[in-house]
């Protein structure tokens, strides 16, 4: 029997990505845009880790492993990488916003458009 709640994480992923995209597209505050990106990031991480779940699988540690299903560690590695990279990108984005605030005196995306002139 496939338990229905195994699909629940993907529903949460959909909701998280949708909330994040809404924030990025329709908010003007740069900090809020970055928060939206972070929400999408978490949604994507959850997506990868839910993909990796195998029922009755064991951790892929080869030394004296039981003779059972082992879970492929690729999505876990990918998620870890993504979390680390996410930290770096969020920090970089926020430091850009700090500099924008210093130069423009505002973090309203509609007013930060000197490039277009």
């Amino acid at each position: 029997m496939i338990s229905w709640f195994l699909h629940l994480p993907f529903l949460v992923v959909g909701i998280l990505v949708a909330i994040g995209l809404y924030t990025v597209l329709f908010k003007n505050n740069l900090i809020k845009i970055i928060m939206g990106i972070a929400i999408i990031q978490n949604g994507v991480n959850l997506f990868l880790i839910s993909l990796a779940y195998r029922k009755d699988g064991v951790a892929p540690i080869w030394t004296s492993a039981p003779d059972e299903f082992m879970v492929m560690p690729t999505p876990h590695a990918l998620t870890l990488t993504s979390i680390v990279i996410g930290l770096a990108t969020t920090a970089l984005l926020l430091s850009f916003v700090m500099m924008i605030k210093r130069h423009y005196g505002t973090i309203d995306a509609d007013k930060v458009r000197r490039c277009r002139e």
């Binding site: 997506f47 990918l78 990279i85 990108t89």
Partner: protein, 508 residues
């Protein structure tokens, strides 16, 4: 130690090594820092050359990290290990990247002299170079994501390097937000493919897709990949970051940012051809690429018409040049059957890929010449510039060569690749060839305006003289490459471009 076999990993290992050495050993003295940067560039170029020679004379190979023997067919190694692909396509891509990086790197010694924190600039430069090389060389989606993010972060750092100017930070923030979103969607697409097939290796993935070509998840993942790499390659609906990023980045970084977008186009072609192959529905994807290409060509060049900022003008021209490549490859795709590309499709493919290496070189030359003008005069508005040809004869010649190439004037190399595109695209549909020709003519008009305004006319005393020698050497290097492409287009197509097309598996 066999250096030839390890060339693919050294191509990105060396820039990484020097990127971290420069801030450390650069403390010793300024000369040390400059020498390390130059060594990093030259050694990378050397190994690109070695790999190119080996692939083109002997044949390609798959580099498997940590394996005692390179065994790409062994399932254990393929599932778990990191692979790099050294084939004709990697050679074309890394050659383009190395040439542009060498030109831009040599240029930066004199241009950036006097800037504070120069070691960090060199570091970011080499990190971007390593990232792009990794993107085009990698053989699995996991690594693709990692190098994608390395490139994004490093190139955004480069754009924002002159952070005392608000505009630079604004451009960097814009590009960074798009890049991070792109990276996340790339991750979703990797997740979709992994969830279906359980592998991230290109080769195994393409076997999996060949086994079940009709699945919806394939198409969804392909659509996301097109979106992400189309954005990075600055094709038109997603091009808005490009003019800002190109015009606000500090001088020598501009060609490098341009090459990251060209590198993304290389990756897109490798993914569509190498992973999906004929199962991607070549007709539909081909048509999408043609539409993207026509839009990029047309909107890019019409936006360039109204610019008065020299760098921004070239940035829009570069957006329109990307359109030629996407259109040509799109046309080639539409002729693809199970036996491979046939008839005019081969010519379109040759034209498209030849245009990529061509475009990388002359665009870099044009950007560098424009940056030299800005460096010498301190002005970037075309309405204020004038009469520079009297004091800056060399820069004038370099700018003119790059400009005529981008406009596709015979006999320059831009013409050879554009002619291949015109001919083949005409056989697909005449209207496309007409659009391509019109765009070329408008490009000529734009570039004439820029050239006349900046270089011709009476001497207005805006500059004391020619730019320093280092900059001239860098531009001279790219000019020599351009002249080689101009004199021997047939040789370049036969020796470099055709192996690349063969590596994509579309012709025998």
């Amino acid at each position: 130690m066999n250096f030839v076999e390890h060339a693919p990993t050294l191509i990105l290992g060396l820039p990484l090594l020097f990127a971290f050495l420069i801030p450390l050993l650069g403390r010793i003295s300024k000369d040390m820092r400059d020498i390390l940067f130059l060594m990093g560039l030259l050694l990378t170029g050397l190994f690109v050359g070695i790999m190119a020679y080996e692939v083109l004379t002997v044949g390609g190979w798959t580099y498997v990290f940590g394996a005692s023997t390179s065994e790409p067919t062994n399932p254990i190694t393929s599932y778990f290990r990191i692979t790099f692909v050294a084939d004709g396509f990697s050679v074309l891509a890394t050659l383009t990247i190395a040439l542009v990086a060498l030109g831009a790197g040599l240029f930066s010694f004199d241009y950036m002299a006097g800037h504070a924190a120069l070691d960090k600039f060199y570091s970011l430069f080499l990190l971007t170079l390593a990232g792009v090389n990794g993107m085009v060389l990698t053989g699995d989606l996991f690594n693709l994501f990692v190098w994608f993010e390395v490139t994004s972060i490093a190139s955004c750092g480069l754009i924002a390097f002159t952070n005392y100017r608000g505009k630079s930070v604004e451009a960097a923030l814009k590009y960074m937000i798009l890049s991070v979103l792109g990276g996340l969607f790339l991750l979703i697409s990797i997740g979709l493919l992994y969830g279906q097939y359980g592998v991230v290796n290109y080769k195994l993935l393409s076997d999996g897709i060949a086994g079940s070509p009709g699945l919806f998840v394939n198409k969804l993942a392909l659509g996301i990949l097109l979106l992400v790499f189309g954005m990075k390659a600055s094709t038109v609906p997603m091009h808005m970051w490009a003019p800002d990023a190109y015009s606000e980045s500090p001088g020598p970084a501009t060609p490098l940012i341009a090459i990251t977008s060209l590198g993304s186009l290389f990756v897109l072609f490798r993914l569509t051809f190498g992973v999906y192959g004929v199962n991607m529905g070549p007709g539909v994807i081909g048509t999408i690429l043609i539409i993207l290409g026509v839009l990029s060509m047309f909107i890019g060049v019409s936006m360039a018409l109204v610019q008065s900022d020299l760098k921004r003008l070239i940035a829009y021209l570069s957006v329109s040049q990307v359109g030629y490549m996407t259109m040509a490859v799109g046309v080639a795709l539409t002729t693809w059957t199970a036996e491979g590309i046939n008839g005019y499709g081969i010519m379109a493919m040759e034209g498209g890929l030849f245009h990529m290496i061509n475009d990388g070189v002359y665009k870099a030359l044009l950007f560098l010449a424009a940056i030299a003008v800005i460096h010498a005069t301190g002005k970037r508005d075309l309405n204020e510039l004038g009469g520079l040809a009297h004091k800056m004869p060399y820069t004038t010649v370099f700018f003119l060569l790059g400009a005529l190439s981008i406009a596709g004037i015979p006999p320059l190399s831009g013409f050879s690749s554009k002619l291949l595109i015109y001919q083949s695209v005409y056989l697909y549909h005449p209207i496309l060839a007409i659009i391509a020709l019109v765009v070329s003519i408008v490009t000529l008009a734009v570039i004439c305006k820029a050239f006349f305004n900046a270089f011709l006319g009476p001497d207005q005393g805006q500059t004391k003289g020619e730019v320093p020698k280092g900059m001239l050497i860098a531009m001279g290097l790219l000019t020599v490459v351009l002249i080689i492409f101009t004199l021997f287009p047939h040789y370049v197509v036969a020796e470099i471009v055709v192996p690349a097309i063969r590596a994509l598996g579309v012709i025998p």
